[in-house]
């Protein structure tokens, strides 16, 4: 049969990655002998349509006419479900006899409810798609009944919706995905969207499925029915080799809910990667209560450049309430072990859980800053989202429509009013864009807390870490008071791209300054310490943005690739106290200096100067190249 698999536009960025779910399904169908074309409208928007002004709907209509499929399959990732729905309606108008099937994270979680909402949709495959989609194609080709196909949802002749029970999950022992795709996908077009000069050429590959844990907010663990499965090591290494050799990808995100839970697998994978001698790196998801000290050196040697950890909250009560039960001692130990080996990490925190207090969030922000000072490359602060089929999304907790959640990730910016109205009108379908009500603050306040700390932790970790440590539980309550008096930050004024943004500091600094001025729990030495940290963070942000010493007006001396700054803090001691979790002390308030040097590429270094060193620096030439004392 001729199958057209469609991904709607996904995000507002410029890079496009091959749609993993559709490509996996396409490879499966190709192995069966089906004729498959993947129509990735995200790729088309980014590489063609923005320039021509044509819409994704017009492009899809052309593809439908050219390819003339027997069956169309659509996926969506929650944020682009409205676009998927419009594509379904388009396909029905263009080809009334076409069979239209939906699946993937959103439709595949909602099953029959998607059919209720979208009358033009014929079938939904719930959960894992390979087996059910294949059986459906066979039934459609032979004209046999579809009502017994596991995981399939459809309508009877009277329009009533039926949902079949689940089937056993597949073994993930099929061959490599990417070679099997043949001409269904032009992978070179994706590789071409990576900007020249990017430090990494990143691609996602599926390593397996299923996390055995049962965190109540998590959608992916129940989607894969919590059964841990991995691809054979040899297949994974072959996929990495293939994508590296054909398209120059050198960094691989091994997509799996929790790959490191099976350390024997990780060990075998590392052995195979070492044997393969591929000059590539990889990252994976882990948990901080999985002890990996013994295997981390091998992982580093085998190319592991980063691990992702969902830490969620520093509150014991919240950890218990969400059935995650992480201990912060384990977080610190894990980050210490990674730092020793130079393995980077992303630490993700979630705020806005029902029952979570503002004081709980204060502790979480302190932990987030600590993680940053312990070496986490990226610290993310997210709001709780009710994605189906997570247990929390089905718990009936009170939630209100939240445009801010939608604006974070909508494929089109700004979000069209018509789209926002449609999404706001159907909570059951679009539950991810309805913010749960929490005692920590209003949805607007939680949104501002998310935005402010997500960005300030990136650009000013010392300032936020010190404030969190000194204000303690009052951190968030006092921030909310300042916010109420000053008004909100405008989301569009911030850059959300990865990287360090001096421009973001300019947006955030006025609110930060007002907050520090009003923060009643601070003693005077603490306030002076924070002002000193803010001066340092602003100057070094300006330096790493401009990359010219003479661009930094606050520097008392500078060269082409260095600046020297007056400071009022002992940064060596401060960095240690913030990372160990100890209380800050007035002894930190010390006159001195800091030298910031550009070490080449995107690497910089900072050195604490003694008063004597600071004095000797004061006469250094502002135009000299390199760090030269007079």
């Amino acid at each position: 049969m001729r199958i057209l698999l469609v991904q709607p536009p996904l995000d507002a960025g410029s890079e496009a990655a091959p749609p993993l779910g559709l490509c996996t399904l396409a490879a499966h169908l190709k192995r069966r002998g089906d004729e498959v074309l993947v129509c990735d409208l995200d790729l088309e928007v980014k590489t063609k349509l923005r320039a021509t002004g044509a819409t994704y709907l017009e492009h899809c209509a052309d593809v439908l006419a050219d390819f003339a499929p027997d069956v169309v399959g659509l996926t969506s990732m929650f944020n682009n479900s409205l676009q998927a729905e419009r594509l379904i309606r388009l396909a029905r108008r263009r080809a009334p006899d076409l069979s239209i099937v939906a699946g993937g994270p959103h439709f595949g979680s909602l099953g029959g409810h998607a059919l209720q909402r979208i009358g033009d949709l014929d079938f939904v495959v719930r959960g894992e798609g390979e087996t059910s989609f294949s059986l459906l194609l066979d039934a459609l080709a032979s004209g046999t009944p579809v009502e017994t196909i596991p995981r399939l949802c459809g309508r009877d002749a009277a329009g009533a919706i039926w949902e079949n029970p689940n089937a056993p999950l597949i073994k993930m022992d099929a061959g490599p995905t990417w070679r099997a795709l043949g001409d269904s996908v032009d992978l070179a077009r994706y590789a071409a969207t990576i900007p020249g000069g990017s430090p990494r050429r990143i691609v996602y590959i599926e390593a397996g499925r299923g996390c055995p844990f049962a965190c109540t907010f998590c959608a992916t663990a129940p989607f894969w029915e919590r059964r841990f499965r991995v691809k054979p090591v040899g297949v994974l290494v072959e996929e990495i080799r293939d994508l590296h050799e054909r398209f120059g990808y050198d960094s691989f995100i091994l997509v799996h809910d929790l790959l490191t839970v099976d350390q024997r697998f990780i060990s075998r994978f590392c052995d195979a990667m070492l044997e393969a001698r591929l000059p590539v790196e990889w990252m994976a998801n882990s948990r901080t209560d999985i002890r990996m000290r013994q295997i981390l050196p091998k992982m580093k040697a085998a190319g592991c450049w980063k691990l992702f950890f969902g830490i969620e909250s520093a509150s014991v009560d919240v950890q218990r309430a969400i059935d995650k039960d992480l201990r912060m001692e384990d977080v610190v130990q894990t980050l210490d072990e990674l730092a020793e080996l130079g393995i980077a990490s992303t630490c993700s925190f979630v705020i806005g859980f029902p029952g979570e207090s503002a004081e709980d969030i204060s502790a979480t922000i302190d932990m987030a800053a600590r993680a940053k000072l312990l070496g986490a490359e990226t610290v993310q602060v997210h709001r709780l989202r009710l994605w189906p089929p997570s247990p929390l999304s089905r718990s009936g907790i009170h939630a209100v429509f939240d445009l801010e959640s939608l604006r974070i990730e909508y494929p089109f910016v700004p979000v069209p009013e018509e789209d926002a109205r449609e999404i706001a009108a159907d909570r059951q379908f679009f539950s991810g864009y309805f913010a749960p009500v929490t005692i920590a603050g209003t949805p607007e306040e939680i949104s501002q807390i998310e935005m402010f700390f997500h960005h300030t932790l990136a650009v000013a970790p010392f300032t936020i870490g010190a404030l969190a440590r000194m204000a303690g539980p009052q951190l968030i309550p006092s921030f909310k008071e300042t916010l109420s008096a000053s008004g909100p930050i405008v989301r569009e004024s911030l850059s959300w791209d990865i990287g360090i943004h001096y421009a973001n500091w300019a947006v955030l600094e006025p609110l930060l300054r007002r907050w520090v001025e009003k923060l009643g729990v601070l003693q005077e030495w603490q306030r002076q310490l924070v002002y000193g940290l803010m001066r340092y963070e602003a100057a070094r942000l300006q330096f790493i943005t401009e990359r010219r010493g003479d661009a930094v007006s606050d520097a008392f001396a500078s060269g082409d690739d260095w600046i020297a700054l007056d400071t009022t803090a002992d940064f060596v001691c401060l960095a240690r106290l913030l990372s160990t979790g100890e209380a800050l002390d007035p002894v930190l308030l010390q006159d001195g200096g800091v030298l910031v040097t550009h070490e080449g590429g995107d690497q910089f270094a900072a050195y604490q100067l003694s008063l004597e060193q600071r004095a000797s620096m004061a006469g250094a030439s502002r135009t000299s190249t390199g760090f030269v004392s007079p």
Partner: protein, 104 residues
């Protein structure tokens, strides 16, 4: 699973070729691909097995399995610049120049 103490890091491709040939006396192993101010100096007499991995941008990954009673040197080269501190906004964390216990 057996364990050993090993130094894992990067050397130039030229040094890696010497390692493969077995004709070497002492090498400097850098914990990151890019050469930094801190590295490990290992004598051939301290090594019972030398593994040579992938090469990228002129630098080759190596793993030196040490003898049980081996000693190695950690070398820190520094200019009189004051005391370095970790500012996560300026640089990513880098590996320490040390030997680690590994599974073999």
């Amino acid at each position: 699973m057996a364990e050993a103490i090993a130094v894992t890091g990067y050397v130039s491709d030229k040094v890696a070729r010497q390692l493969r040939s077995g004709k070497w006396e002492s090498i400097d192993v850098h914990p990151e691909r890019k050469e930094g101010d801190t590295f490990v100096r290992v004598a051939a007499s301290a090594v019972r097995d030398a593994r040579v991995g992938s090469s990228k941008a002129g630098r080759t990954l190596v793993q030196l399995i040490l003898n049980d009673d081996a000693t190695i040197e950690t070398v820190v080269r520094s200019a009189p610049r004051g005391q370095r501190f970790f500012d996560p906004t300026l640089a990513r964390i880098t590996a320490a120049a040390i030997a680690n216990k590994i599974e073999i």
